[in-house]
C-alpha cells in the first residue's frame, strides 16, 4: 500500500492489471489502461519487486565466539650471547597462554664489533715502519682500537702518550690501508675497500674542527655585525651592476655627440679650415658607419655628415637651413664634392644652425623684456624697437654680382620648355620605356 502511494499508482488500474493476467498471449504486448507509459516502464511490467532485502531473524541472535587468551607477566632469567662470561640476569617477560619465550636475548644483535686488522712482526717491519711512531705505540693503538671499536674519542683519552684524535686516526687508517694493499694479490682486489678508496685527511679534519669551534664560539653581537656587513656588500654589488648598465646606455649618445662640431666656429679659422687641421677635422667629421668601409664615395660620406649635423635639429629647422642655403645661392649638394668643399659645406650648415638658434633666443628675450616693461611701467628705449624690426624681418642674404648672375641663370632654367616643336616625330619621353630592339 505504501509503495503504491510512493510511486503514485492508482488502485483501480492495478486491479485491472490483475484481470489482464488471465490472458497470457496479450500480456507482454499490451499496456494496461489508465497507466501512463513512463510509469508502466518503471514498474517493469510484471509484479512488484521487493523494496528491501530480507534478513533472517536468527542471524541477529548469533554472537561471535571469541577464543579466550590468557596473558601474564613473569620474572624470568635470561642470558645474552653478546657476553662471554655467561652472566645470567632476570627481567619481566610477557607470557601469553603460558608459552615461555625462547631464543637469544633480543638486543644481542646490536652488539657490533669493528673488524680491526692484525699484523705480524714481519709485516710491521716490512710495511708499517714510520719514524713518527714506535712499534710499541702502534701495538697499543691497534689494541685500543679493537677494544673500544674505533671510538677514537675514548681511545685518545686512554692513549698513554699525548696524541690528538687526528694523529691516532691518521696512523690507524694509513697502516690498515698499507696492510690491505700488500696482502691482496692485486690492487684491483681491494680498490673498492673504503679504507683504500677514501684516504684520511688529517689536515682537513683539523681545519674543519677549528672553523666549527670558531663558529660555535661566536657571540650575538658578532653575528649581527656579520649580517650587516653582508647586506652592505650586497648593496654595493647591486649599485655597481646598475652603474655598468648606465654606462652602456650612455655610450651611444656620447659617440654621436662627438661627431657634431662645437657651435660657433671662430672667424679666424673660417678662411682655410682645411689647411689648419685637415686630418683632424676629417676624422672628426667621418661618421662611424664609414670607418669600417674599405672604399666609399665622397658624396655618400657627405650625405652621412649632413644627417649627423641635422640629427639634433627638428624637421622644420632642417627645412629652414635648406631654404637659407638656396637663398645664399649655394648648392644643397656641392657640384664638386672634394674634401675641402665638403668640410666648408658642413661648417656652413653648422653656422646656419647657430644662427637659427640665436634668433630663437632673441625672440624669447624680447618677449621677456616686453612682459617686464608692461609690469614695471617703464618707458621703452629706442634700441629694442630696432631689434624688433630686425627680428621680424627674416634673414635675407645680400646678393652680390656673382650670385645675381647665378639667380638669373636659374630663372632662365625654370622657364624652359621640354622640347622643340620642329623636332622629328618620336615616342614620348619616359624614364622606363619599353624597348623591343636595342641595337637595330
Amino acid at each position: 500500500m505504501d509503495a503504491k502511494d510512493i510511486l503514485g499508482l492508482p488502485k483501480t488500474p492495478f486491479s485491472s492489471s490483475q484481470e489482464k493476467k488471465s490472458r497470457p498471449p496479450k500480456e507482454p504486448q499490451r499496456k494496461p489502461d489508465g497507466v501512463s507509459r513512463e510509469v508502466y516502464a518503471l514498474t517493469g511490467g510484471v509484479g512488484m519487486p521487493p523494496l528491501m532485502p530480507t534478513i533472517e531473524a536468527s542471524h541477529l541472535k548469533r554472537r561471535p565466539a571469541a577464543e579466550k587468551e590468557k596473558v601474564a607477566w613473569q620474572w624470568l632469567p635470561f642470558t645474552s650471547s653478546a657476553r662471554t662470561d655467561n652472566l645470567q640476569l632476570y627481567h619481566w617477560v610477557r607470557v601469553v597462554n603460558g608459552i615461555q619465550p625462547t631464543g637469544d636475548y633480543q638486543f644481542a644483535k646490536y652488539n657490533k664489533r669493528a673488524d680491526v686488522l692484525k699484523y705480524t712482526d714481519e709485516e710491521y717491519e716490512k710495511y708499517l715502519v714510520d719514524p713518527a711512531w714506535s712499534k710499541e705505540e702502534t701495538d697499543q693503538l691497534f689494541e685500543l682500537c679493537e677494544r673500544f671499536d674505533l671510538r677514537f674519542i675514548v681511545i685518545a683519552d686512554r692513549f698513554p702518550t699525548a696524541r690528538s684524535v687526528e694523529d691516532l686516526k691518521s696512523r690507524y687508517y694509513s697502516a690498515s690501508r698499507a696492510l690491505l694493499i700488500h696482502r691482496a694479490r692485486s690492487f684491483e682486489d681491494v680498490s673498492g675497500n673504503p679504507l683504500v678508496k677514501d684516504a684520511y685527511d688529517a689536515a682537513h679534519e683539523t681545519e674543519r674542527k677549528r672553523a666549527l669551534s670558531a663558529l660555535l664560539s661566536q657571540t650575538k653581537q658578532q653575528e649581527r655585525k656579520d649580517a650587516e656587513t653582508l647586506a652592505e656588500a650586497k648593496r654595493i654589488m647591486e649599485s655597481r651592476a646598475a652603474s655598468k648598465n648606465v654606462d652602456v646606455a650612455v655610450m651611444p649618445p656620447n659617440s654621436d655627440n662627438a661627431m657634431v662640431p662645437v657651435d660657433g666656429v671662430s672667424p679666424s679659422s673660417s678662411t682655410h679650415p682645411s689647411l689648419a687641421h685637415p686630418n683632424t677635422s676629417a676624422n672628426i667629421l667621418i661618421p662611424n658607419s664609414l670607418r669600417t668601409l674599405r672604399v666609399y664615395l665622397r658624396t655618400h660620406a657627405l650625405d652621412q655628415m649632413v644627417q649627423a649635423v641635422g640629427a639634433s635639429a627638428g624637421l622644420r629647422v632642417i627645412k629652414r637651413v635648406d631654404q637659407t642655403l638656396q637663398e645664399l645661392a649655394v648648392n644643397l649638394k656641392p657640384k664638386v664634392p672634394t674634401k675641402a668643399v665638403c668640410i666648408e659645406h658642413i661648417e656652413l650648415r653648422n653656422e646656419l644652425l647657430t644662427l637659427l638658434n640665436l634668433q630663437k633666443q632673441l625672440q624669447n628675450k624680447e618677449a621677456e623684456v616686453s612682459a617686464n616693461r608692461e609690469s614695471s611701467f617703464t618707458e621703452a628705449p629706442s634700441t629694442p624697437k630696432r631689434s624688433n624690426r630686425d627680428i621680424d624681418r627674416p634673414f635675407i642674404p645680400d646678393t652680390s654680382g656673382f650670385t645675381g648672375e647665378r639667380a638669373g641663370k636659374r630663372d632662365h632654367k625654370r622657364k624652359s620648355t621640354g622640347r622643340f616643336i620642329d623636332a622629328p616625330p618620336s615616342p614620348p619621353q619616359s624614364k622606363r620605356p619599353r624597348k623591343l630592339k636595342g641595337s637595330d
Binding site: V330, H345, N372, S387, D422
Partner: protein, 245 residues
C-alpha cells in the same frame, strides 16, 4: 713582403672621377627606334688612366637591350650604344686585389633630349650630363700606397708624422709611358665638363661670411637685451665692436 700588407692609419687616398653620358642626335638617319647614339663612361677627373685602380667596369643597361650587361675590362671604361629611350644605367666598378675587395656602384640617368629650348636638335652638339665624385680609400695598404703615390690620377695626402715608408725598389717603379688608358685625347674630350673646386669654395666662403656677420649682430643684440632690466647696468655695458674677417 708581408710588411707591405700593413694598413696606414689616418691616411686616405682619393681618386676624383667623372661619370656620365654624351648623346648625339642621329639627324636624318634617326628612326622611331634608333634616334640617338650615346656613350656612357667613367673617367678620371683630370683624364688620367683609371686602370691603376679599376680592374673592370660593368654597365647594366635596360633589359630591352640585347645582352644588357656589358663588361669593360680595358681602359677607357666606356660603352657606346644607340637607341631611343632614356633610362637609368648602373655602373659597377671592380678594383684590383691590392686596392680593395669591395666593389662600388654608381647610378646615372641617360639623357637624350636637351632640357632647354636652344633651337632645333643638332647632330653637331651633343647632350652632355656628367657627375663629379671622388672614390675614397681610407687606410690603404703600404703596397697600394707605394704603387699609386706618384700616379697623376690620385690625390695622395702628405703622410702624418711617425709614418715612414721604405724607398720604392726597382720592381715597384711603375712606368707611366703608356698613355693608352687615359682620356686626354679622347674623341669626345672636347665635350667634357670642367668642374671647378675654386668656384664652389668661393661661393661657400661668401655664404659663410654673410652668416657669420649676422650671427655677430644677433649676439650683440642679445647682449644688449640681457642688460635691459637694470638701467645702470645697461649703460655701463661697453659697445660691441664689429669684427671684420
Amino acid at each position: 713582403m708581408s710588411t707591405q700588407n700593413k694598413r696606414l692609419k689616418d691616411v686616405e687616398v682619393s681618386f676624383p672621377i667623372v661619370y656620365g653620358t654624351i648623346s648625339f642626335w642621329l639627324g636624318k638617319k634617326a628612326s622611331e627606334y634608333n634616334s640617338h647614339k650615346w656613350t656612357v663612361y667613367v673617367r678620371s677627373a683630370n683624364n688620367e688612366d683609371l686602370s691603376v685602380i679599376v680592374k673592370r667596369a660593368v654597365f647594366q643597361l635596360h633589359p630591352s637591350f640585347q645582352n644588357p650587361t656589358r663588361v669593360v675590362e680595358q681602359p677607357p671604361f666606356e660603352l657606346s650604344e644607340s637607341g631611343w629611350g632614356e633610362f637609368e644605367i648602373a655602373i659597377t666598378l671592380y678594383f684590383h686585389s691590392d686596392v680593395c675587395d669591395k666593389r662600388l656602384d654608381l647610378f646615372h640617368q641617360l639623357k637624350l633630349y636637351p632640357e632647354e629650348e636652344a633651337g632645333p636638335q643638332s647632330t653637331k652638339k651633343p647632350v652632355v650630363v656628367e657627375t663629379y665624385d671622388e672614390i675614397v680609400f681610407p687606410e690603404p695598404t703600404e703596397a697600394f700606397f707605394l704603387r699609386v703615390q706618384n700616379h697623376p690620377a690620385a690625390n695622395v695626402p702628405r703622410l702624418p708624422p711617425g709614418i715612414t715608408l721604405p724607398p720604392p725598389g726597382p720592381m715597384e717603379i711603375v712606368p707611366y709611358e703608356k698613355k693608352r688608358g687615359d682620356t686626354k685625347d679622347h674623341p669626345l674630350s672636347q665635350w667634357f665638363s670642367n668642374f671647378s673646386e675654386a668656384d664652389e669654395l668661393l661661393k661657400l666662403a661668401a655664404a659663410r661670411q654673410q652668416v657669420q656677420v649676422h650671427i655677430a649682430k644677433l649676439r650683440r643684440q642679445l647682449t644688449m637685451i640681457e642688460g635691459m632690466p637694470q638701467q645702470s647696468k645697461a649703460f655701463s655695458v661697453p659697445g660691441q665692436q664689429f669684427r671684420h674677417i
